[in-house]
């Protein structure tokens, strides 16, 4: 077993642990409004897969820039899309 195999094995175990944690925490009595925090472990897992199995750190520089660009535009997409529901005041219709 070489260093690459050991690294893959550790990443796999970390992912299994994070998945089990996410699953277990979902059974706790978390208020409905706060439950989207259950997505946080999955973001960590996605980063782990990208850095570990996809070897992003050793990828060519331009590939790294594409990866960062994808995250940047995703942030813009989600951020701008949510400005409407986060800022709109809903008034009751009278009559």
């Amino acid at each position: 077993m070489n260093a690459r195999h050991r690294s893959d094995l550790l990443i796999w175990l970390g992912l299994l642990l994070a998945a089990a944690l996410e699953f277990g925490v979902s059974f706790l009595a978390i208020p409905q409004g706060v439950r989207p925090i259950l997505i946080l472990p999955s973001i960590g897992m996605a980063v782990l897969v990208a850095l570990g199995f996809m070897r992003l750190l050793t990828a060519p520089d331009i590939a790294k820039s594409f990866a960062i660009g994808g995250i940047f535009w995703l942030t813009v997409l989600l951020g701008l899309a949510m400005t409407d529901p986060m800022t709109r005041a809903v008034y009751a219709v009278i009559g």
Partner: protein
């Protein structure tokens, strides 16, 4: 022809490394576009849940949690198996790469079989958003929106999985023919990127489909 190029290296590249970096970067660019493609789905989920949280969560509570969870562990393991195959091939062991590809395909196929079975359960319980629907009352509209999101998201992911299983099979076939014997591993790496990305998509879809709406 005056220029000498290494096997597998096309004339427009300076050397094999240049070609490999271009192929890897090309796949990363494609995956960045896929991030935005699936990002639209995340926007739909966020937007719809924001306006109809009760109905959306009522829909989410009807999902088959055990299948989604088993599938999460299956996909995580499949990425590990494929990555191990690449590590074996880097050490010159093509036989192990083929075994890892076959195992990856088997895990991917099991994921798809479970997903088809889950759809069968969902549809037989009248959770398809068109036609007679299981959830009635004030939450029905939000629940229908959730199940529209669910079927679109899982179908798109399954389509990517089917493509991935085919690509991994192609890698196994190429390895069997000895295509990677001279250390040219770019296709193995590029397909690995795609497979791990499909894994990431499920890692993100899992909590928003199965966990957030559950009580």
């Amino acid at each position: 022809m005056s220029e000498e190029v290494a096997p597998h290296t096309h004339f427009q590249y300076a050397d094999a490394r240049h070609q490999a970096e271009t192929a890897l970067s090309g796949m990363w660019l494609f995956l960045a576009s896929e991030v935005l493609f699936f990002g639209g789905l995340i926007v739909a989920w966020t937007f719809c849940r924001h306006w109809q949280p009760a109905g959306f969560d009522a829909g989410s509570r009807e999902t088959v949690l055990w299948i989604g969870t088993v599938n999460l562990f299956l996909l995580i393991s499949s990425s590990f198996v494929y990555s191990s195959g690449l590590a074996f091939m880097e050490a010159g062991n093509a036989k192990r790469l083929i075994q890892c590809c076959v195992a990856t395909m088997a895990i991917g196929s099991l994921f798809l079989l479970l997903k088809f079975y889950e759809w069968h359960i969902d549809i037989s319980e009248h959770l398809f958003p068109a036609g007679p629907f299981k959830i009635n009352g004030a939450d029905a509209g939000g629940a229908r929106m959730f199940w529209s999101f669910y079927f679109v998201a899982t179908a798109l992911h399954a389509a990517h999985m089917i493509v991935g299983v085919g690509l991994v099979g192609w890698i196994a076939l190429q390895a069997r023919r000895g295509a990677f014997a001279d250390g040219w591993l770019t296709p193995v790496e590029v397909i690995g990127l795609y497979w791990s990305f499909v894994d990431i998509v499920w890692i993100v879809l899992y909590p928003i489909i199965y966990l957030v709406g559950r009580e």
